[in-house]
């Protein structure tokens, strides 16, 4: 639905993180270049990049590498949001506060669209960011809990491949499960 409309925002989102990093941390932190599947290059602080287990093991295998790390399965748009999450997480690493962390996590998912969430999940999975994956999967589960079958099909863009007879049979089998479903 919104993919074409979001294209212009996409570019601004991508440039934003890199400029921020340049001004904020020019004096201190080492930066790492990460290249997404759509050939965008992200300059990310080392501490943030080490949150990505996949990237971390890349450097463990080749410690002296100064190359740009390719992320062939990661498109730029969800990746910029993943970076946003990890930056927040790092703050809590130095200063653990479970309540604040939960609050920050729930605010992070709250402002994301359904599509944002679903697109970030495979990225979090590929980069092996366990905390984020848990937060995202729970957020998606919360959004589809007690919703109608039709709602969920449109949520994930799933085509119904049952015949109407097959579907009626399944609905009959567990009829009680279809009662009191939240309105779409």
């Amino acid at each position: 639905m919104s993919s074409s409309a979001e294209n212009p925002t996409l570019t601004t989102e991508i440039t934003k993180p890199s400029t921020e990093i340049a001004t904020e941390t020019a004096q201190s932190a080492k930066k790492i270049n990460l290249k997404t599947s759509d050939d965008q290059i992200f300059e990310v602080e080392e501490s943030v990049a080490m949150e990505f287990a996949t990237v971390k093991s890349f450097f463990e295998d080749a410690p002296s590498s100064t190359d740009t790390v390719p992320l062939p399965n990661v498109p730029a748009k969800p990746f910029s949001q993943v970076i946003e999450f990890c930056k927040e997480q790092i703050k809590f690493k130095a200063n653990p506060d479970e309540t604040e962390k939960k609050k920050s996590n729930s605010e992070f998912v709250k402002e994301k669209t359904n599509e944002d969430l679903v697109e970030m999940i495979p990225v979090a999975n590929y980069l092996e960011i366990k905390d984020l994956l848990d937060v995202l999967n729970q957020a998606v589960a919360d959004r589809i809990q007690n919703r109608s079958v039709e709602y969920v099909r449109s949520f994930f863009g799933i085509d119904n491949d049952f015949t109407s007879e097959e579907e009626a049979l399944l609905r009959e089998e567990h009829a009680w499960a279809f009662e009191d479903v939240d309105e779409d």
């Binding site: 639905m1 993919s3 074409s4 599509e115 679903v118 697109e119 999940i121 495979p122 999975n125 999967n137 729970q138 998606v140 589960a141 589809i144 809990q145 007690n146 919703r147 109608s148 079958v149 969920v152 099909r153 994930f156 863009g157 799933i158 085509d159 119904n160 491949d161 049952f162 579907e167 399944l170 609905r171 089998e173 567990h174 009680w176 499960a177 279809f178 009662e179 009191d180 479903v181």
Partner: protein
């Protein structure tokens, strides 16, 4: 432009691998999952899969199952499955069923060797072997004072004697911990707690809390709170209070401590059994009572709504973890796994007294999800929930300094 839009929408799902989809689905309540079986063929396959059942069970929070007792009065429940002994002419048959999937198997019991009274069936799962077993304790016809026990491992098709036993009179709401079930004899004193380990198939005694001279002096129930064995005592005499003891280290007598102390406004009830401690700090307490018209209509506070509930005799609340573990997977050696509502009506007919709708299974299932501190609920009947009184008590409990 339109084409790319289509493409994006269609690839969203394919982007989520089946593993990721299983992880998301396993976080949902059972009711939602059942309805999502008809989203598409892939989801039906995923949800019906053995791996999904395992994944879901590890995450499924304990719930409460309210069931009508069969006429035989004997029933027990464990985890995913429920065990029912049917009354009347079916007295020599027990059923193990998964009420979520409407599946059950029949197990024949040679009850000629047992006294009619004092027998008990309990269902459990071995901690490591993942074998589901039925424990049968009974008094022999000839020697009343020498209770015996037999074990039936589901899938093997036969009973095995395991020798002498401690007899079980009742199992409280939830006494399943570390692969063992626990029970006590609530008489005037409480000297020890009994346990049966479904892995080693051994009976043991555990130390009871240090009550005054071992005197119970009130009504008590065993339970599991925060992964510890607990004993709740409602005292007969002033000060009228309800004390919850918790055994912080399993098997260690010195580790029993008074964990909670309730001072309810009135004590017009006999039994009191904490069921589930919610993350919100609320505790679900079952108050079981017969006398006084105050008790005929009860209130459950749920999602801010108040649901009226009436007493119905012969019903019990039992801890129950809703699950998708299919009897087809664990009962391969059994004669037949029966599935379909018509097969199941054989059970409720003899145990239907609490239910009005004969197409239902004679039970109502309520699922209290405490994973995110939110209570959710479902029932298997359109009629109002009718059972013993369950009250959500706001946490007014004070932590007792031990």
């Amino acid at each position: 432009m339109d084409d790319t839009k289509e493409e994006v929408a269609n690839t969203i799902v394919t982007k989520l691998s089946e593993d990721l989809m299983i992880d998301i689905l396993s976080r949902l309540p059972v009711k939602t999952i059942l309805s999502f079986m008809c989203v598409c063929k892939t989801w039906l396959r995923l949800i019906s899969d053995k791996d999904f059942a395992t994944h879901h069970l590890s995450r499924s929070p304990p719930g409460i199952l309210i069931k009508a007792l069969p006429e035989g009065g004997i029933s027990s429940i464990f985890h995913a499955f429920q065990i029912v002994q049917t009354g009347g002419e079916f007295r020599n048959v027990i059923h193990v069923c998964n009420p979520i999937l409407c599946e059950h198997i029949k197990i024949h019991v040679d009850d000629h060797k047992a006294c009619l009274y004092g027998q008990y069936f309990a269902l459990g799962c071995s901690a490591t072997g993942k074998k589901y077993k039925v424990l049968w304790t009974f008094n022999q016809n000839d020697r009343h004072r020498n209770p015996k026990a037999e074990i039936y491992t589901i899938g093997t098709g036969q009973w095995r004697s395991i020798g002498n036993s401690f007899s079980i009179e009742r199992l409280d709401f939830d006494t399943s911990l570390h692969g063992c079930i626990h029970w006590a004899r609530y008489e005037t004193s409480l000297e020890c707690i009994f346990s049966f380990d479904f892995e080693t198939e051994q009976f043991k005694r555990l130390p009871a809390p240090p009550l005054c001279d071992g005197n119970l002096d009130g009504f008590s129930r065993l339970g599991v709170l925060k992964d510890c064995l607990s004993l709740t005592v409602r005292k007969w005499d002033a000060p009228y209070e309800i004390v919850v003891w918790v055994m912080n280290e399993y098997g260690v007598q010195e580790s029993w401590s008074k964990q909670f102390l309730f001072k309810p406004d009135n004590l017009h009830f006999i039994s009191c059994e904490p069921l589930i401690l919610l993350r919100t700090g609320k505790i679900f307490i079952l108050l079981d009572e017969e006398f006084g018209d105050w008790y005929n209509v009860e209130k459950i506070i749920f999602r801010g709504r108040i649901i009226r509930c009436e007493n119905v005799e012969d019903t019990r609340a039992i801890a129950y973890t809703p699950s998708f573990v299919s009897l087809h997977h664990i009962a391969e050696g059994e004669e037949q796994v029966l599935r379909s509502n018509s097969d199941l009506t054989e059970i409720p007919k003899s145990s239907m007294r609490g239910s009005e709708d004969p197409t239902e299974k004679g039970d109502w299932i309520n699922h209290f999800s405490n994973s995110r501190g939110q209570v959710c609920f479902f029932k298997r009947s359109n009629t109002f929930l009718k059972f013993m009184r369950v009250i959500v008590m706001q946490t007014q409990f004070n932590q007792v300094k031990s």
